[in-house]
């Protein structure tokens, strides 16, 4: 029975239990699901070339065996099979190939196979997320048929594009705009179109990258009057009435028009790095507590807040097998690239500690013990308030080799160096750090020295910034897009005295990491 039929029959308790019942699992039950599904995956992997390679032609008899036998992997370990779409080497035939950018990879994009089983699980996860987003307390939700769904995330072949694909036929929701009608339209145009449609006809569920949600909130004041007045006769009576009240407030009390003044949003879903700082702002603008979700192309959607939306995200038990590399082990890896870090399981985590996630796909996915660089903090091992008996997390960042700005742009040492080289500017050593402005918006801060041979004609930071902005576009970083999205300048350049970095390195006797060097280093460089 589909969600649509269940909603039609008003079986709300059954719906909750079916999709969000996982929240009632004990830690033991959670681990049992993890263990069993991992054994299923081992069985599938054992019968294919990729699996045999990763499992060294052996078949682990238990999860413990599996962890001992299979090394930690990265996309390089799969590239030869996946980039050629070599289906015969995979555990199951993919029904879809998802793409994602590959920073520093041998090709611009990574290809990720999605099996039918993965898509099925993805569907239940997305429905659970929508239910949780529209719930204020455990067991009750306001999702209904024919709700209007504003989906402002990347379309297929990116992972977020699967959302409309999996919900099609499962529930009668109206996507704003209809994904089938806007194929070929750019991401920003599509978002704008959806937002305009939502403003005149109402939005029930809004799902977008955090940075976009914030931007849409801020622009609402300017565009709402124009749109709403333009479609005065098409608007529902209630929308017009609310608009009138908002205009009165604006006229007499000089209050900005906020989305919540016009729209009765049931649920707000956001994803992406950095938006966590803007939760309060989102809630203030849209009138509902936003629900954070986390996903990636390789693991698919793996985590979400629960109904209270403030205890941290839970990892869905049936999407991937999760292992965690403690910070201390990661530090050992930093020092010795050949060091094999030890991993912990969900029932071994320590509250407050930070871990890098290692995951293995279930249901015939390709990745085993995969390191994508996602770093999470374990906020609690159980949450008595919400009755969650397994750990909850906060997404911290990607590992320091990559700077992720707002979930849209991922910057590596290679991309920055390419932009510098292309610019032809006489620049020297540099380090790059992600920082936040006063509005909690992220930006890339480049601390850079002039080259030794250019000391005679100094360039100012502003000129360098403009030049680099230009050349960043050639290395796949469309900064203008990001600027439009964030409403702030995503690149800031600060000049360092020549030789400061090398001086620091010789004083400390170590090589300074160019991307996200340890805290405190920047202030020392600036002194």
């Amino acid at each position: 029975m589909t969600l649509n039929e269940l909603l039609k029959q008003k079986k709300y308790k059954e719906i909750w239990q079916r999709y969000c019942g996982f929240a009632d699992l004990t830690l033991r039950e959670y681990m049992e699901i993890q263990r069993r599904l991992m054994m299923e995956q081992i069985e599938l992997m054992h019968s294919c070339e990729l699996g045999q390679r990763l499992m060294q032609n052996k078949k682990p008899a238990s999860v413990e065996d599996f962890r001992r036998l299979v090394p930690l992997t990265t996309y390089d370990d799969y590239a030869d099979i996946l980039l050629k779409r070599n289906i015969s080497a995979l555990p199951t035939e993919p029904v879809m190939w998802i793409e994602t950018t590959w920073e520093g990879g041998i090709t611009p994009v990574k290809l990720i196979p999605y099996s039918e089983g993965m898509i099925k699980v993805y569907r239940t996860v997305i429905i659970a997320i929508v239910l949780l987003a529209t719930s204020k307390k455990k067991g009750s939700f306001s999702l209904r048929r024919f709700d209007r769904f504003l989906h402002c995330m990347a379309s297929l072949p990116y992972m977020t594009g699967l959302i409309s694909y999996v919900l099609d036929g499962e529930i009668d929701v109206t996507f704003l705009p209809d994904p089938k009608e806007v194929e070929g339209i750019s991401f920003h145009q599509r978002n704008r179109m959806g937002l305009y449609m939502g403003m005149s006809g109402g939005i029930d569920i809004f799902c977008g990258m955090g940075s976009f949600v914030v931007k849409a909130s801020e622009q609402f004041h300017d565009i709402s009057s124009r749109i709403l007045f333009g479609s005065l006769f098409q608007n529902s009576f209630i929308v017009n009435f609310k608009l009138l009240l908002a205009l009165i407030r604006k006229k007499f009390w000089h209050q900005d028009i906020l989305p919540k003044d016009i729209l009765d949003l049931k649920g707000l879903i956001y994803a992406g790095t950095d938006a966590v700082h803007l939760r309060d702002h989102m809630e203030k603008c849209w009138g509902v507590k936003p629900l954070e979700v986390f996903g990636g192309a390789e693991p698919s959607c793996i985590a979400a807040d629960v109904w209270s939306k403030d205890g941290g995200m839970v990892l869905f038990p049936d999407v991937c097998f999760y292992e965690f590399i403690p910070e201390s082990e990661r530090a050992l890896c930093d020092r010795d690239p050949h060091y094999v870090p030890k991993t912990s399981l969900m029932d071994e985590l320590v509250e407050g500690d930070t871990y890098e996630l290692v995951f293995s796909n279930f249901k015939g996915g390709a990745f085993l013990r995969y390191r994508a660089g996602y770093v999470f903090q374990c906020l609690s091992v159980k949450n008595d308030e919400d009755g969650i008996l397994f750990p909850q997390f906060r997404y911290v960042n990607r590992v320091s080799a990559v700077i992720d700005i707002a979930g849209f742009i991922r910057i590596t040492e290679k991309t920055i160096q390419q932009a510098i080289d292309l610019s032809g500017l006489p620049l020297g050593d540099w380090v790059a750090v992600k920082e936040y402005n006063a509005d909690h918006k992220p930006f890339l801060h480049l601390y850079i020295e002039m080259g030794e041979d250019s000391l005679t004609h100094m360039l100012d930071a502003e000129t360098i910034r403009d030049q680099l902005t230009l050349y960043f576009r050639y290395v796949n970083l469309d900064e203008q897009d990001l600027e439009a999205l964030l409403g702030s300048d995503p690149l800031v350049v600060t000049m360092l005295s020549h030789g400061v970095i090398s001086g620091y390195e010789s004083a400390k006797g170590c090589t300074l990491r160019k991307i996200d060097p340890p805290a405190g280093v920047i202030s020392e460089l600036l002194c």
Binding site: M1, G21, F22, E29, I33, R36, E40, E43, G117, K363
Partner: protein, 853 residues
């Protein structure tokens, strides 16, 4: 006639609505049912008020008319909600018009603006040729026309929206057609009621009756409640209520006005009491009518469960049980997944193969089994769909559940263990399983589980009686039974019998102990099982002898198979790093029925002759029985020496000492070989033989064993002929690598002696003479009395001579020094009792330092 018609309509109408009300009241309440109750209640009020109006009961006709009108006024709104829930048709406009219209109409109604006057007039009518009075209502319609118009508009709008949805194919027409029809009839009746000449016929009430039937049809089609169950209860109540109503009508018609006021309430009160008792009885009877077949079947099933306890055959129990459940509950398919302890799985009965075209196996840890074991109740498909622990199901398991169309799973538990799962698909009539069904199944499951558990125990006992407990092969007894049966079955076709015997197994047992010997038997049995499979029957004939019955195998094919077995055994037992570790092989004899033997007894006897032939042909070979073969005693078939054997525990000697002596030439030939390579070793062996034989005699071993130890001592270092001379004669300490090479001489000694069947009795002493009492020796690291006593004697003698002999690079130590060394290492390197004996023998001068001969 008209009066009778009016009474009839009202009675039928009230009974129909009462029935519907009961149906709804007993149903699971949801929004739809609640609205339906309200709707039916309004129809009842309408009918009752109409009846009272016609009776002109106090407070008066106008009052009842307004009550009736109020019910009719409410109806459009309620019908709208009812239809909206059915069809998902929502119109805010219609709803608001409905609310406002209802409110205005009610106000108009109760303020007298709708019907200003209602009077009952008696008009004469001709009935059977005589004049009788009939009721006629003179109603003054004011705003009532407006209301009727509004009513019609709302209902037509709903009808129009419905048709639109049907055309758009967003709504299925089934189930709602009847409701639409019922309401159209109501509208028509209300409009017709405005016509004075039709008013007298109570058309509205008649339309209500039709509408009630329409609602019942819709409910049945839509399956919004458990209709059958409620109908049973409803029928009982309906019958009783019908009696009440008819009685009431009769009294109303026959009694005069004065009596009515007193008699009717009293009779009503009495009737309620009487009718209640009648209801209880009738309810019981109707239960029997409705469920008589089911009741009998269930009774039979309970009887069946009692009988189950007397059955012991697993197949009989499962077949009968499944068939019974299937027929009683009328399910499409029923499966039984029984726990397989050996593989930790639940294996589905053969029925699964018929349904899905393949067999199914659920892992022992699958969530269904875990849930059933923990909860002791029925597991439904909804549980699997909704409970999060079922996320742990594998896709293949889910496919299996889908293929079986699982609707219900019942635990079969015995002694707190889930020994099986009863899996039922949907019922043939598509209805769901009731609580009663589940209770019945749980009860049956409990008793069947006990019966199954007993059957398992019986099967196990039966199997154990036919099976060799060590190897898992069939035993000797079962073999004979099987041989007779197979010979009968093959008729004139060939049947080969293969007798196999492990070569040198006694020696193997002596060297590695009985635990290792048992393991070897298990390994050989596993090889036989794997090689023979379902092509024949393998059994343990006794001791280290096995037998294989190969029906439809001629001697050539039997030889090929046996040869494969022989090679597999050879690979397994000769694959170790050294011969000191493994050296088992098999010999086999084959005879084929009916070509080489006319019956089972002859077949066995001739296969045995062939086996003996194989043994005499150097072992590790396969021989087919030939006509000229006879028993000829094997040279190596040495009987066990009685007497001291148990005490010694490690030696098998030739039956006669003379036979042993006849081997002396071979022994001296071998020792001469080593002499050519290392003179010291040769002399050393001779001295060790002397010391060891004295020690053996000193501790009470008989002559044969003393002699055997002496021969073992002569040969104990024979393997050194394979050690490079530079290591053998090295002056100074050996390196670790050289020591490793030197240690291999034990393996080499075994390899050499193994090929001399007549000397195999010396092997235990040779292989064990470097083992230490505390387990730190080599090559097998055995300890204490696990080391054969002959080897322990040899170890002391060997070390004693090594210490006391003079070598080119050092002088031999003194006797006292050597004895002190032995005593120091007593309990660690050497057997303490033997050291004491050795020291005593030196004190008695029976052992003294012997110069090299």
């Amino acid at each position: 006639m008209l009066d009778f018609f009016i009474w009839l309509i009202h009675s039928v109408s009230l009974i129909s609505y009462s029935f519907l009300l009961v149906v709804f009241a007993f149903s699971k309440k949801d929004k739809l049912v609640k609205i339906a109750i309200l709707m039916v209640a309004l129809y009842m009020i309408w009918t009752t008020a109409s009846l009272f109006m016609r009776f002109d009961l106090p407070p008066g006709t106008l009052f009842w008319n307004r009550i009736m009108a109020a019910a009719i006024i409410f109806l459009p709104l309620i019908v709208y909600h009812f239809m909206a829930l059915f069809s998902d048709f929502h119109s805010h406009l219609l709803k608001y018009i409905g609310y406002i219209g209802t409110a205005v109409s009610l106000i108009l109604n109760f303020t007298g603006q709708m019907f200003s006057q209602v009077t009952v007039q008696m008009i004469p009518q001709m009935v059977d040729g005589r004049l009788v009075p009939a009721h006629y209502f003179d109603v003054k319609w004011e705003w009532g026309v407006v209301f009727a118009f509004m009513y019609a508009v709302i209902l037509l709008a709903i009808g129009f929206a419905y048709c639109l949805k049907v055309l758009e194919k967003t709504l299925k027409a089934d189930g709602i057609k009847a409701i639409i029809a019922g309401n159209v009839i109501i509208v028509a009746a209300i409009i017709l009621m405005a016509l004075p000449w039709l008013n007298q016929y109570s058309l509205g009430v008649l339309a209500g009756v039709i509408n009630a039937v329409c609602i019942m049809i819709s409910i049945y089609k839509y399956r919004m409640l458990e209709f059958k169950f409620v109908f049973k209860k409803g029928a009982a109540l309906l019958f009783c209520m019908g009696l009440l109503v008819l009685g009431y009508i009769y009294l109303s018609l026959t009694l005069d006005e004065t009596l009515k006021m007193y008699v009717i309430p009293a009779v009503t009160a009495l009737s309620i009491c009487g009718v209640y008792s009648l209801y209880v009885k009738f309810n019981r009877d109707i239960d029997k009518i409705f469920i008589s077949t089911e009741y009998q079947q269930r009774q039979w099933l309970f009887g069946f469960s009692v009988n189950l306890a007397n059955k012991l055959e697993l197949d009989e129990i499962t077949d009968t049980f499944l068939e019974a459940v299937k027929s009683v509950l009328r399910v499409s398919h029923v499966f039984l997944a029984l726990y397989d302890r050996d593989n930790d799985t639940y294996t589905l009965s053969a029925g699964a193969l018929e349904v899905a075209g393949r067999g199914y196996v659920f892992a022992g840890d699958n969530p269904m089994a875990t849930w059933l074991n923990d909860n002791n109740t029925c597991l439904t498909r909804d549980h699997i769909r909704t409970l999060p622990i079922f996320k742990a199901l594998w896709d293949s398991e889910m496919e299996c559940i889908d293929d079986m169309d699982l609707e219900l799973a019942v635990p079969l538990k015995s002694r707190s263990h889930l020994i099986g799962m009863l899996i039922l698909s949907k019922k043939q009539d598509g209805s769901t399983f009731t609580i009663e069904d589940m209770d019945l199944l749980l009860s049956l499951g409990g008793s069947t589980a006990v019966a199954l558990d007993n059957a398992f125990s019986y099967e196990r006992a039966k199997s154990e009686a036919n099976t060799d407990s060590l190897t898992g092969l069939f035993n000797h007894r079962h073999f004979y039974r099987e041989l007779r049966q197979q010979i009968q079955e093959v008729g004139e076709n060939p049947l080969s019998l293969v007798l196999l015997d492990l070569d040198m197994f006694k020696l193997y047992n002596d060297m590695y102990g009985h635990v290792e010997g048992d393991k070897a038997l298990e390994t050989v049995a596993a090889i036989l099982k794997a090689q023979v499979g379902d092509c024949g029957v393998a059994a343990r004939y006794g001791g280290e002898e096995f037998v294989i019955i190969l029906p439809f195998y001629d001697s050539e094919r039997a030889e090929m198979l046996t040869e494969k077995i022989r090679q597999a055994v050879q690979r397994t037992f000769h694959g170790g790093p050294g011969d000191a570790h493994r050296f088992l092989s098999i010999s086999a004899g084959i005879c084929t029925y009916p070509q080489a033997a006319p019956n089972g007894e002859e077949l066995l006897q001739r296969a045995d002759i062939a086996l003996y032939s194989a043994k005499n042909s150097g072992k590790n070979t396969v021989v087919i029985y030939g006509p000229n073969m006879t028993y000829a005693p094997s040279m190596t078939d040495v009987p066990v020496v009685p007497g001291h054997l148990e005490a010694i525990g490690d030696l098998r000697l030739p039956s006669a000492l003379g036979e042993s002596i006849s081997h002396s030439s071979a022994i001296f030939a071998l020792t001469a070989t080593i002499e050519t390579k290392d003179y010291y070793t040769y002399g050393h062996s001779q001295k060790v033989a002397e010391y060891a034989s004295v020690l053996a005699a000193g501790i009470g071993l008989d002559d044969w064993h003393v002699k055997a130890i002496m021969e073992a001592a002569l040969l104990h270092d024979i393997g050194k002929i394979g050690i490079p001379e530079d290591i053998l004669k090295k002056v100074g300490r050996l390196t670790e690598d050289e020591l490793e090479i030197m240690r291999r001489h034990v393996d080499m000694s075994v390899t050499i002696i193994k090929h001399l069947p007549t000397l195999q009795y010396v092997l235990p002493a040779v292989i064990g003479h470097h083992e230490n009492w505390d387990g730190t020796g080599y090559p097998r690291n055995i300890r204490g009395e696990e080391i054969p006593i002959s080897a322990r004697c040899l170890a002391i003698s060997d070390s004693f001579d090594a210490m006391t002999s003079t070598r080119p690079y050092r002088s031999g130590c003194s006797l006292d020094h050597a004895l002190r060394e032995l005593q120091e290492k007593s309990g660690t390197q050497f057997d303490p009792h033997l050291v004491d004996a050795f020291v005593e023998l030196t004190q008695l001068k029976r052992i003294s330092l012997t110069p090299l001969q």
